[in-house]
């Protein structure tokens, strides 16, 4: 879907992004994570050419992104930034309609799309379509920012620390919203963050960057079990890597046949959550329920612990 080839950005003597190559799968969430100054933001901004690469190229569906004017390319790519950057003089509906208007959609189609998106993001159009951004809460503004980025049905969504300014509770909700939206529209998402927990929670793949270089690009579990070097290991967190690994597997994927008198857990719960529940209730095993509520099997503490290491 997105193919980054030997991408490099230099400002005079400093190399901000150094020979980075990777490929993003269609319909997946890729999280680029790194410390501040690692070049992760510059890397993201080179994908929609807000920053022009010094060398290397980006292919979108096989086509070089330089084959069309930059502003036309950006209309096809959703873009969300920290602090959302909503237009303060435009209403919520006008903000969301920005890109469709640039693309010259007919009014009825824009209207329908804006209404659909506001509903998806739990902003009642009757209440919120006509208000200005400063009249919204931080969480609502953030949702409008994402709705605006998705308005023209882009196949690719780029997000630059989109949840950085939110408090923990609203951030968790925003992350769940993003996962739901991504499943619903099948959008290919590239998200930049410095928060490793966010990376593990959202990413189907994680790219770890430091000092402009891509250190490792892998599935989250591989990052934990086979870190490329000590920096990646430290970045992913040595102290709780066993628990992080458990958090990546759902109860439904690890379920074993059998019955249990213990607490009931949903198959969508992570092993980390199931383990916590078992420890809390001093139980040895849990009954795993499917989405229909019917028992699917059981999980013991021993079986969970067996998955907590490489």
């Amino acid at each position: 879907m997105i193919r980054v080839e030997k991408l490099t950005k230099r400002y005079d003597a400093t190399t901000v992004v150094d020979d980075v190559s990777f490929e993003v799968e269609r319909n997946s969430i890729t999280v680029v994570v790194g410390t501040s100054g690692s070049g992760k933001s510059t890397l993201l901004r080179m994908i929609n050419r807000l920053v022009e690469p010094s060398s290397g190229r980006v292919l979108l569906d096989g086509a070089d992104t330089r084959s069309e004017p930059a502003h036309l390319l950006r209309r096809r790519i959703g873009y969300v930034i920290q602090g959302n950057g909503l237009f303060p003089h435009r209403t919520v509906a006008e903000n969301v309609a920005t890109v469709p208007r640039l693309l010259g959609w007919p009014d009825e189609r824009i209207q329908a799309r804006v209404t659909e998106l506001l509903e998806i993001f739990q902003l009642d159009p009757a209440l919120y379509a006509g208000v200005l951004p400063h009249q919204l809460s931080g969480g609502q503004q953030q949702r409008v920012g994402v709705a605006r980025a998705l308005a023209a049905e882009p196949a690719v969504l780029l997000m630059d620390e989109p949840f950085g300014a939110l408090d923990p509770i609203i951030r968790a909700k925003a992350q769940e919203d993003l996962l739901a939206i991504q499943r619903r529209f099948g959008t290919t998402v590239v998200l930049v963050t410095h928060d490793m927990d966010e990376a593990f929670h959202l990413g189907h793949s994680i790219a770890v960057m430091s000092e402009g270089r891509l250190l490792q690009y892998d599935r989250p579990a591989t990052l934990l079990t086979q870190p490329a070097d000590s920096f990646v290991a430290r970045m992913t967190g040595l102290s709780d890597r066993a628990l992080k690994l458990l958090a990546l597997t759902s109860a439904g994927d690890a379920v074993l046949p059998g019955e249990s008198e213990g607490p009931r857990v949903a198959s969508s719960a992570s092993l980390r959550e199931v383990l916590s529940e078992l420890l809390w209730r001093r139980a040895d095993s849990a009954l795993v329920l499917g989405e229909d509520g019917a028992p699917r099997g059981q999980l013991t503490v021993a079986a969970i612990l067996a998955r907590a290491h490489p």
């Binding site: 929609n48 807000l50 502003h71 036309l72 390319l73 950006r74 209309r75 096809r76 873009y79 930034i81 920290q82 602090g83 959302n84 950057g85 909503l86 237009f87 303060p88 003089h89 920005t98 890109v99 640039l102 200005l132 400063h134 920012g145 605006r148």
Partner: protein, 245 residues
């Protein structure tokens, strides 16, 4: 109706009454005259003079606005950034060069009448509009501009749809300052035969008639205050839509 609005209305009513029927104020101004001199300016129609002065100021302000806003936009673009020091110097000269001196220089070039006055007012009115345009365009939040770029707006679309609307309250403030300064300054146009209330003041000075001087000054002052107030109200309406944060 609030006290402020009542005051505005009273000032406007006073101005209009005086301009439409100046003779009814004759008893008020009579104590200021000596030896039976006329208490009310009688060598021309006060209303016509006031309107002529306002017209001159508005034409000059329109030209100042066009040039100053255009320059302000140019020097805040990457291509025009190198012209900022030069533009600033030119605009500053326009403000520091006394309008009277501009008249003296302009008369030999364009002759007597409205033209030299327009040139003097145009040059004098550039600075506030120019500086406020730059300040307004620079005050646009970086995140908003970044989002506008990221959404795929071309530079012209960003300017028209985002930067100018956000800068508008400050630009309007610049235009207001420029207008009000020039309503007063325009009286000097009468020294080079431009129609205006300066005529009344000069006639008063020549004949030692304090009543004339006061009439020219008061009408000019009232016009400036009312104009300032009306434009400020317009700005408030506009900036209500745009929070400053």
């Amino acid at each position: 109706m609030s006290f402020a609005n009542l005051l505005r209305l009273a000032a406007l009513a006073l101005l209009l009454t005086f301009l439409l029927s100046p003779q009814s104020f004759a008893p008020l101004f009579a104590p200021l005259t000596h030896y039976g001199a006329p208490p009310i300016y009688d060598q021309g129609n006060l209303l016509a003079l006031a309107l002529a002065q306002l017209g001159t100021v508005l034409v000059a302000a329109a030209a100042s606005t066009l040039v100053a806003v255009g320059l302000g936009i140019l020097v805040t673009r990457p291509v025009g950034a190198q012209f900022l020091p030069l533009s600033r110097t030119l605009v500053n000269i326009g403000q520091t060069f006394p309008p009277v001196a501009v008249l003296a220089v302009a008369v030999p070039l364009v002759g007597f009448g409205e033209k030299p006055t327009l040139i003097a007012l145009f040059a004098y009115g550039l600075l506030p509009i120019f500086e406020n345009t730059i300040a307004g365009l620079r005050s646009c939040p970086p995140a908003v501009l970044e989002a506008a770029r990221g959404m795929g707006m071309s530079p012209a679309q960003r300017l028209r749809r985002v930067e100018l609307p956000l800068a508008m309250p400050l630009i309007l403030e610049g235009i207001r300052l420029s207008l009000v300064i020039n309503v007063g300054t325009a009286t000097i146009g009468s020294t080079v035969a431009a129609k205006g209330l300066g005529e009344v003041i000069i006639a008063g000075l020549l004949s030692s008639n304090t009543a004339f001087i006061l009439q020219g000054g008061l009408v000019t002052g009232l016009m400036a205050v009312l104009l300032y107030d009306a434009l400020a109200a317009l700005e408030r309406r506009l900036s209500l839509a745009v929070p400053l944060d």
